[in-house]
Symmetry: C2
Subunit: 164 residues, 2 copies
DNA sequence: TATTGTTATACTCTATAACTATA
DNA sequence: TATAGTTATAGAGTATAACAATA
């Protein structure tokens, strides 16, 4: 079952070739490669994910996004500050309830998001390079199914750290 | 292509449903669930990975393992200290070259490793729960193939952080 | 002089809790 | 008083560089 474990003297050693282990290995690799790519755009993966989420759901409050992402509200501040300072994101004080600030992506932000799109396509190609079309489709279908089974939501990354 | 993206106002938004993205989502989830489980054994994922690696390749030096894991030697010290203090791992000064210390898993360490094995099996079941046998086999085969294509080695986790 | 392991230090990222302003 | 956002602070985890022992 093990690809190249050679002579393994440890009989009690846990199985390293499980799907769960491979998933975490490949996931970490994919996240690292993506981090390298977005770094070229001067973004961290959490920043990229947030930008994307705000674009998909404009106008929401910081608290709402924090809840959705499973992160403390205090963390949003720094992320948004960075994006706002670069003119990619904008806070707008809600006129009805001036405690809330609704978030929106600027035109510059949308332009960068388009770049991010191309980058994601290239990244996907890099990760699955070497698979033929059938394998690629099979893999994608299985991952989608698994993501649904585990209740993963499209724009929300578990942990929201290390990757988008 | 998107499972439940609802009305997505951002045309320029990058694709979130790529295999690479799903891989990183599911990988992060798998890593988190594994971390929860090994925490019950009072281990961090890096500690578990190191213990496993030493069991698979006993007698190697800290430098050799650090190189293999892609981590600075200084980091090995703390990890090994923790495992050695609990009697799971042992440093033995090399008699030929007393700069080197070769690492070995103790009997207690092997016992814990056996527990870790059972835990890994349960973890794997949890991650892939809901898939039928055919899907499970397909997924495993594809992940193994992808791991080989990307040059991932059995006991070496990319980043060696957050997961084993 | 070069190398192994160690220590000291600093940096990054994240979470917790206290604070303000609005309600 | 309760809530949204912010600030201050502390903690975990990691990397870099200096150090001591051995070769």
């Amino acid at each position: 079952m093990e690809p190249a474990a050679a002579a393994c003297p440890a009989d009690g050693a846990p199985p390293e070739g499980t799907s769960a282990y491979l998933l975490s290995q490949l996931g970490a690799l994919s996240a690292r490669l993506f981090a390298d790519r977005v770094a070229a755009l001067d973004l961290t993966p959490p920043q990229a994910g947030l930008l994307r989420l705000v674009a998909a759901q404009p106008g929401r409050s910081q608290q709402a996004l924090a809840t959705q992402l499973g992160t403390p509200p205090s963390r949003m501040v720094g992320l948004i500050d960075g994006l706002e300072a670069r003119g990619l994101l904008a806070r707008r004080r809600n006129t009805d309830d001036r405690r809330l600030s609704s978030l929106h992506v600027t035109a510059d932000g949308m332009a960068l998001l388009a770049e991010l799109g191309g980058l994601a396509v290239a990244h996907d190609g890099e990760v699955s390079a070497g698979l033929d079309d059938t394998e690629r489709e099979q893999l994608h279908a299985l991952l989608v199914r698994l993501a649904e089974l585990r209740g993963l939501r499209p724009g929300v990354h578990p942990g929201f750290r290390g990757s988008c």
